[in-house]
């Protein structure tokens, strides 16, 4: 049979393409949509990497939650008067230099390491990942779990407070 890993490459390509697309498009709405595409393809990669729970969480929260919220934000902040706002690009040279340098640096660092020293595990796992994660959450990772809860609470309260309706600059 064909190796399932071969599915990785189209999704990886899709993720890369959509990331670059966000870079290129001048429309915020389109950018948000491309982000959605990227998130979904990353979720597919997670599945192929035996991280099903993370993949689902990615789809639910990232794609379903965050992307939607961003779309709401786009709608609220763009004065759509028939013509969508065109986003300008600034600091192009600086950004490309930094990005390119970082990319090359990372590639260099990766090429210096041989990650095949660790014996790859067989496809058989002890427990289904969901169960493992659930177990780990409430045992090994209890503190981070609770802290995350508090964090979410704080974020919720904070967002509400900040976004409450207040006067604009003019009035």
């Amino acid at each position: 049979m064909i190796d399932a890993n071969i599915l990785f490459y189209p999704f990886a390509l899709l993720a890369a393409v959509s990331a670059v697309a966000i870079l290129v498009v001048r429309n915020v709405f389109y950018g948000a949509l491309w982000l959605l595409t990227c998130l979904l393809s990353v979720a597919a990669i997670y599945v192929l990497a035996y991280a099903e729970f993370v993949a689902v969480t990615q789809i639910l929260i990232y794609a379903g939650g965050i992307a939607v919220v961003i779309l709401f934000g786009v709608m609220l902040t763009t004065r759509v008067a028939g013509v969508p706002l065109v986003v300008q690009h600034g600091n192009l040279f600086d950004a490309i230099v930094v990005g390119f340098t970082l990319f090359v640096l990372l590639l260099t660092l990766f090429s210096q390491h041989d990650f095949s020293t660790v014996a790859p595990a067989a496809a058989v796992k002890a427990l289904p990942p969901a169960e493992a994660i659930g177990m780990a959450t409430l045992t090994d990772f209890l503190l981070p779990f609770e802290t995350a809860g508090i964090l979410l609470l704080v974020a919720l309260v904070g967002a509400t407070v900040i976004a409450a309706s207040l006067k604009s600059k003019r009035s």
Partner: protein, 650 residues
């Protein structure tokens, strides 16, 4: 034998010699410092100071006489490791000359107070007379060639100033310039001679020089060259051929000046120098000297025959007599030349001063009679015997001395010269010199007779009707003194023998009676011939002779003009090329300056401005970190992290 110590004291002698030298300089200083309003003070002081100088000179001479050489020297200046000294050399020759110079200078001073009365520039005149006397004494007293050269130049300068005394007269100025230039030409040779002597013997002091040359094995060629070069200077100063043309022109100066400088002293300085450095002269050089002398004597005597100006006749006569002196020196008999120099000084000065009296008297007559003619032209004079009897007598006395009539001093010195010549003549061309010398003495009688006859004999022409009287006593007294000195007893008891207290002839055989008789007869013959020749017209009227064979014209055409042309050429060259070169360098400099300016402005200021701009950009750049632009903050943070990563991991 040493004298009693109380009388012969070198220190005292030194002091007195110094006084003799410096008193005329004091007269010069008085004249220079006193203002124009008090010029009568100078006229009073100058003769007095020179009289004092005369007194000290007489004292020095009387004490030093017969004592051989006294050399006094003190250090003057040092060049590298040789010290030049300046000092006095007192021997018979020099103390005799100091007395003569002081005496004649004093008499001329006294005479000038009368002659130059009314002249607007008497202060300048007496000042320069004093300076001249000082310089002349300097030549006589100096003990080394360098000092002699310095005083030589000073004497030339004083002579130039005095010739050009009446500086409104362009001819006088031209004559002064000519005198100076011709002297300088001779002095150039003198300087070369000095250099030759210095390089071969290393000393200038006369005493050391005499010893150094006496120790030489034989006559070296450098010695002849040095001697001839020094003779160049002598030829310039003593008016020998071909450098004598300045002397007739120098008659433009006042007559007392002519008497002092151009008859008695300055022109005699050359003969004096010949005697002083006689040890340098090799036989070859002496032959040249003798030749030059006799040529000069002949040319000048011929020229004197055709002149009309009485002062010019006397000037050419001086040149001729100097030529005889130089000839005598050329035979090796230097003391004979000195004897003739001394006698010539007295009678020629007397002649000049008497001529000055004539000129002065006729001038006064001219002024009173409101007539205008050239006083010095002999054709205007004549028949003044009755109006100027005293002057006539003095003229006759000194004229006889000049002509060499027995019982006069001139006869004695001419005797000595002929004796020396005869002793010296031993081959062909030397006999020719002797014959020419006798010929010159014949011509001397001729022109002297012509001169006296022209002024005093015959009938008056232009001066008829004028009131001409003898000049005042103050002018007649010096003339009388000098006329007295022209008589024989000044120099020898025996009127026919030249050996006397002045001149001893130890090296010559006993005086020849035949020579005496011959020369006496020769003179009488000449007087008779003169009476016959000059009875009516002067047969020697010749433009060729009057212009001394156009020597001056040749000089003007070939020497002066070519020198002036060269000077013009070099001046143009200088202006065009050298100044042009300088201008070019100036332009180059300006261009470089412009370039430097541009460089400074563009590059250096540019760099400074650039540094400022860089600072501004850097400031703006670093300011941009705080620009409030979030994305730039992100960018810089990312860049910093990347750099950190590269630094630590790669």
């Amino acid at each position: 034998m040493p004298e009693p110590a109380s009388l012969y004291n070198p220190a005292t002698l030194q002091t007195f010699a110094l006084l003799t030298l410096l008193l005329p300089l004091v007269s010069f200083a008085v004249g220079a410092l006193v203002s124009e309003r008090y010029s009568w003070v100078v006229t009073l002081c100058a003769p007095f100071l020179v009289l004092l100088s005369l007194a000290t000179a007489i004292y020095t001479a009387s004490v030093q006489w017969g004592h051989g050489n006294l050399l006094v020297a003190m250090p003057w200046f040092t060049v590298s490791d040789y010290t030049f000294s300046a000092g006095f050399m007192l021997n018979a020759t020099s103390v005799c000359m100091t007395v003569i110079v002081a005496f004649i200078s004093f008499l001329v001073h006294v005479y000038s107070t009368g002659y130059m009365a009314g002249d607007p520039a008497t202060k300048r005149y007496f000042t320069m007379l004093g300076f001249f006397t000082f310089a002349m004494q300097g030549i006589v007293l100096a003990d080394n060639l360098l000092s002699i050269f310095v005083f030589w130049e000073l004497v030339g300068f004083a002579s130039c100033m005095l010739i050009g005394h009446w500086k409104e007269n362009p001819q006088a100025v031209a004559a002064a310039k000519k005198a100076f230039l011709l002297n300088r030409v001779g002095d150039a040779g003198f300087l070369v001679g000095l250099m030759l002597i210095w390089s071969h013997t290393g000393t200038f002091a006369l005493g050391d020089l005499a010893q150094a040359i006496a120790q030489l094995p034989g006559a070296a060629s450098w010695q002849t060259a040095a001697a001839l070069c020094i003779f160049c200077g002598i030829a310039g100063k003593s008016a020998q051929f071909p450098l004598f043309t300045w002397l007739p022109d120098a008659m433009e100066g006042p007559t007392p000046v002519s008497a002092l400088i151009h008859a008695a002293t300055m022109v005699a300085a050359g003969i004096f120098l010949l005697a002083r450095v006689s040890f340098v002269f090799t036989p070859a050089a002496l032959d040249v000297v003798a030749l030059t002398g006799i040529v000069t004597a002949v040319v000048a005597a011929l020229a004197a025959l055709s002149q009309h100006d009485i002062k010019k006749i006397l000037a050419y006569s001086t040149i001729s007599q100097l030529g005889l002196m130089v000839t005598a020196a050329g035979t090796g008999a230097f003391n004979v030349a000195m004897l003739h120099l001394v006698t010539h000084a007295f009678f020629k000065a007397c002649l000049f001063l008497s001529a000055g009296s004539v000129i002065h008297a006729v001038h006064q007559g001219q002024h009173q009679g409101h007539r205008k003619f050239d006083v010095q032209d002999m054709r205007n004079l004549g028949g003044l015997k009755t109006k100027l009897p005293f002057t006539y007598i003095t003229f006759m006395l000194s004229g006889c001395a000049l002509a060499g009539v027995p019982f006069f001093s001139g006869f004695l010195s001419k005797e000595a010269i002929f004796s020396a010549l005869l002793h010296w003549a031993d081959n062909g061309w030397r006999w020719l010199v002797v014959v020419l010398a006798f010929g010159v003495s014949f011509l001397t009688v001729l022109y002297t007779y012509r001169l006296i006859r022209g002024i005093f004999a015959g009938t008056e022409t232009a001066t008829a009707g004028l009131n001409i009287t003898e000049p005042p006593v103050i002018m007649r007294a010096p003339v009388a003194l000098l006329a007295g000195a022209s008589l024989w007893f000044m120099f020898s008891i025996n009127p026919f023998s030249c050996s006397g207290w002045f001149l001893q002839f130890p090296e010559l055989p006993a005086h020849h009676i035949t020579l005496t008789i011959f020369s006496t007869a020769w003179v009488i013959l000449a007087v008779v011939a003169a009476r016959f020749i000059f009875r009516e017209r002067n047969p020697f009227q010749s433009e060729l002779l009057r212009n001394t064979f156009y020597l001056d014209l040749y000089y003007q055409k070939y020497v002066t003009d070519s020198v002036v042309a060269v000077a013009g050429f070099t001046s143009r060259f200088d202006r065009k090329w050298i100044d042009g070169f300088l201008h070019a360098t100036a332009y180059a400099q300006i261009t470089v300056a412009h370039l430097t300016g541009w460089f400074d402005r563009a590059i250096i200021d540019g760099m400074v401005n650039g540094a400022a701009a860089l600072a501004r950009t850097t400031g703006r750049f670093t300011q941009s970190f705080q620009g409030g632009k979030i994305q730039l903050y992100i960018f810089w943070a990312a860049l910093a992290i990347i750099i950190f990563l590269i630094w630590t991991l790669v």
